[in-house]
Amino acid sequence: MAPVMLVTLITWLGIFGYLIVIDRSIKRMERDTRENDDL
């Protein structure tokens, strides 16, 4: 069971890491868009 569990866990951690990166990128884009609007 351990190898299947590891595959599942690693897949989730990959998705989770990807979501964190996307979340931060969107936040930066939101800030940049807002700053450009203010100029």
């Binding site: 351990a2 866990l9 989730w12 989770f16 979501l19 964190i20 979340d23 931060r24 800030r31 609007d37």
Partner: protein, 241 residues
């Protein structure tokens, strides 16, 4: 089309991720572990009870496949009755997109589960047939919406009406058909006492929570990405004038 407003984000908060999102990651990791080491293998399965562990991912995904429809319907109603803004229209469409995504996950994981418990990956059981129709309902919405160009108000109204009309067959297919036609799927396992064993409850309930958080997170991300994209297009159009 009205101007999409961007909220202000302080510089120091740009790289911070909300606590509940970390909690989502942790709870889902616990579910991945618990599905294999807390829950016991199921009994009386055609191909071995270990495959039953996929139920921890299949059931929450199947419920979210319907929740997507409910979210889209709520925002569609809001669009038609209260605030016909691009934001409300986008939220309704995002509900549909996420519903479609979870519908695909539920179909794939359900097929694996069916192979293990009933010996065949596809049985045209009422619930399996229902999910195929659900997939078609979702796909039709997204294709028709994608094809409707031009006036945003007109597209929003058409999309909202489609969502409101199609939730009726969706509800009938998911909640009523399997109960009146007799399905291979059990219909009361989750809601009746003593139908689910304690080891399964210890993983299944956190799984509902983690999937719910994931749905919220994806919804939020998609909406924020739409907002940034729309705002940038609006600015470009303004500067071209």
């Amino acid at each position: 089309m009205s101007v999409v407003e961007m909220k202000e984000i302080p510089r120091e908060k740009v790289d911070k991720i909300a606590l509940w999102k970390w909690a989502c990651g942790l709870i889902m990791a616990y579910v991945c572990y618990g599905a294999f080491f807390i829950a016991n293998a199921a009994q009386n399965f055609t191909r071995g009870g270990d495959d039953a562990r996929i139920v921890f991912f299949h059931v929450p995904a199947a419920i979210l496949a319907y929740v997507g429809y409910v979210v889209a319907t709520v925002y569609s109603l809001q669009f038609l009755l209260k605030s016909p803004t691009p934001e409300t229209d986008a939220k309704a469409a995002i509900g549909m997109e996420l519903g479609f995504l979870f519908c695909i996950v539920a179909t794939l994981t359900g097929s694996v589960f069916a192979g293990a418990v009933w010996g065949s990956y596809w049985n045209w059981d009422p619930r399996e047939t229902s999910i195929v129709v659900m997939l078609l309902l979702y796909a039709s919405y997204l294709i028709l919406r994608g094809a409707a160009t031009g006036d945003f108000q007109k597209r929003g109204k058409l999309s909202a009406v489609y969502a409101l009309v199609s939730i009726v067959p969706a509800t009938f297919l998911i909640w009523i058909v399997p109960r009146i036609m007799g399905s291979l799927h059990p219909t009361d396992t989750l809601w009746k006492k003593d139908k689910t064993t304690a080891d399964y409850k210890m993983v299944l309930y956190p799984s509902f929570l983690a999937f719910g958080m994931l749905f919220t997170w994806l919804f939020q991300l998609r909406f924020r990405a739409w907002k940034v994209g729309t705002r940038r297009i609006q600015r470009r159009l303004r500067s071209n004038k």
